[in-house]
């Protein structure tokens, strides 16, 4: 009884107010900013209607951070910044200072400690990434390692603003795509149906749930070797892996046959055209840990082609809208295979219903 009384009851406090964490100049001018400019890559300069100014120095991190790294970032904030930071959606850290004189020493310190300053404006920002082998229960690949190898290759593009418009990247370790939409995404694409351990299905999986989860109704209950299990119509199966999370004995990951696909042209912004989803432009790339050179080669090729050919303010999707898909494949040298023609619901809207052809 005494022990029961000692149990602490959770305080369902929800999302905390951000006032007490915010830099005082931000708090003072909340909702009253006039404009901003970028004195150099990695630095945002915001001016309030009150005349107050702040500089935000943005640096890349590894997202999966050990406490030593976080404390180092805190040391820098206390010694070179003003004790207040924030993180962006792409895991960049921003140091906010109201004193311009602090900007250069802050940049020097961050870079000296190995945190690249950049990720603003028309740069390639840090990859939005997922968990992968480090923590996920269904991953086809790792996330942190893919990101590390990609950002090593794109390091200079992070630190400079030399792209036609901003470039957002993401990577996902299965087709659920937790990494989300991006100008360019790397996503696992399975190529074989699940391998089923029929000894375990009946005890581990709620079979009607698994049947219902399949997008193409390829799964049905079956008796296998006298045991209740599930079977997959392999002619129907699209190898999406949707059955694997609710039924781990239906193993979809395969060291050889789980490949990586590249997608381009997702645009979250409403600027110019409406938001768009990204489109698959390459697949069949090997899951080649620890540095995924084949993936990096395709990513680098697409980004170099875009950089050289797009006009100012064209996001990747805007650029392809102008030049057309045939020239995208021609310029990048990527093979246009039959698998890139959509046949899912709504797919006819993705076909060319005109004689608009660029020669």
């Amino acid at each position: 009884m005494a022990e029961a009384q000692a149990l602490r009851k959770a305080v369902e406090c929800g999302v905390p107010d951000n006032d007490k964490y915010m830099h005082p100049t931000l708090l003072k001018n909340r909702g009253n900013w006039k404009y901003h400019d970028r004195p150099r890559p990695g630095v945002l300069h915001h001016v309030a209607h009150s005349g107050d100014q702040v500089w935000s120095v943005r640096a890349g991190t590894q997202r999966q951070m050990d406490t030593h790294t976080i404390r180092k970032l805190c040391d820098i904030a206390e010694q070179f910044g003003e004790g207040h930071v924030r993180f962006t959606i792409r895991s960049n850290i921003e140091y906010i200072v109201a004193d311009q004189a602090k900007v250069d020493p802050l940049i020097a310190k961050l870079e000296g400690e190995g945190f690249p300053v950049g990720g603003t404006g028309n740069s390639v920002s840090m990859v939005a990434h997922t968990q992968g082998w480090l923590h996920c229960d269904i991953p086809g690949t790792d996330a942190s390692g893919v990101v590390k190898s990609m950002m090593d290759a794109l390091y200079d593009e992070f630190k400079n603003e030399q792209m036609p418009n901003r470039v957002h990247l993401s990577t996902s370790c299965c087709e659920i795509n937790c990494g989300g939409q991006a100008d360019l995404a790397v996503i696992v694409q399975h190529t074989k149906p699940p391998t089923i351990n029929h000894d375990l299905v009946a005890n581990v999986c709620e079979r009607p749930t698994v049947v219902a989860r399949c997008p193409v109704a390829a799964i049905r209950p079956a008796l296998v070797n006298g045991k209740p299990s599930l079977e997959v119509d392999e002619k129907k199966c699209i190898c999406c892996g949707a059955c694997y999370p609710p039924c781990p004995p239906m193993q979809i990951n395969d060291p050889e046959h789980s490949k990586l696909a590249i997608w381009v042209g997702g645009k979250n912004s409403n600027a110019r055209g409406k938001p768009t989803f990204m489109k698959m432009v390459a697949s069949g790339l090997p899951n080649n840990a620890p540095r995924w050179p084949e993936v990096n080669a395709v990513v680098g090729n697409i980004l170099r082609t875009y950089k050289a050919d797009a006009r100012p303010w064209e996001r990747l999707a805007d650029w392809i809208d102008r030049i057309g898909w045939p020239r995208f494949f021609e310029k990048t040298g990527l093979p246009f295979t039959k698998y890139l023609i959509d046949d899912w619901r709504g797919s006819r809207a993705t076909l060319n219903s005109s004689n608009h052809v660029r020669f």
Binding site: L7, M22, K34, T61, M65, I93, W313
Partner: protein, 432 residues
Amino acid sequence: MAKPMHPTPNLDQLETGPWPSFVTGLKRLAKDKDYVVDVLGHLERSYQTRKGYWKGGTVGVRGYGGGVIPRFTEIKDEAGQPVFKDAAEFHTLRIMPPPGMHYDTATLRQLCDIWDKYGSGLIALHGQSGDIMMQGCTTENVQKAWDEINEMGFDLGGAGPAVRTSMSCVGAARCEQSCYDEAKAHKAVINSFLDDIHRPALPYKFKFKFSGCGNDCMNAIQRSDMAVIGTWRDNIRTDDDLGRKWFAKHGMNELINDVVSRCPTKALQIKDAGAVRKDAHISAVALDGKQCLEIDNKDCVRCMHCINVMTGALAPGKDKGASILVGGKSHLKIGGLLGTLVVPFIKLDTEEDREKLVELAQSIIDFFAENALEHERTGEMIERIGLVNFLEGIGLDVDPHMINTPRTNPYVRTDGWDEEVAKIEAKKKAAA
């Protein structure tokens, strides 16, 4: 001093190159923690075999049904014992950060102290749903870590078929494009659904995201069941000094190629200063002594492009608020869906305005809870039942802002047409 490291030839290759290395960070932790020595061994095994080895389970904190992501190792020896025994359990606590992800260093240090004491020392800032991910904890320590984090004033986020942790952009805190106080709206909405966050009982996940303008930095339209996107109703504001400054620096070619010709609705024209229209819906910014950039605000869709290019010279209007879209989601099960506009404009200036937003959210979640099939997202439900049934269910009137085009086929029974027209007329009359 921790036990000796396992060989990690694959992971070692991720310590080269200029980008900060998560492997180097883990190795630093492994100097003092047997736990992380085995986490590295576990991860190296995945790199060798290209397979994942964590399985889920049931681990939680008292009083909550979600917010902890349980992970148990599947790398076992012949006797069924974990090969990496110090990393046999590797659970994650999802913690909701302050909106906009602002921190003072004392708070970050306190989180580090708690996680060194009870966890692996690995923290992701932040996960894809916007949580602080306290990664790597034993079952025994989950409650202890949670108690201390909760004492700091933080709460667990969502997991499973629940309202999920939300994200809002930096917005009003620092951005001149902000059209409402994103953090206040974020907090008002999410803190109204704590029961639906902490005790997963919905058909499937439900995500809110808050972006302060059409740039949608939170990817809300693509990724959330209910997206709140800032906009304004009156004219784009202009600043002649900053307009002239922009033009002096960038010139006519950039103005035409990068601004005027990229306007999606052709709302921009270059005019001689004396020829600018005087109508109430026209705004204009000076370029030099002779010419102006004229904006027809009736044609403008508030896409943000010209404001992005000429920030300061152009700015969102003063009559600000937000548009609401519902039904965005990723691939599974029926394919990716973008959100659909269901409320063209809602004011979000006051507590009462935000209360109306919460009421709308509540009616959408109630309808979703009652009508969605198991594992069906809001967008899939709308696809299945049709937008009109959804709108009637949550009590919203149809509006031509909700569509790209009217129906392109005749396959609909329309014998209620006259009644619908009469209803619309009656509403018009009542409003007049």
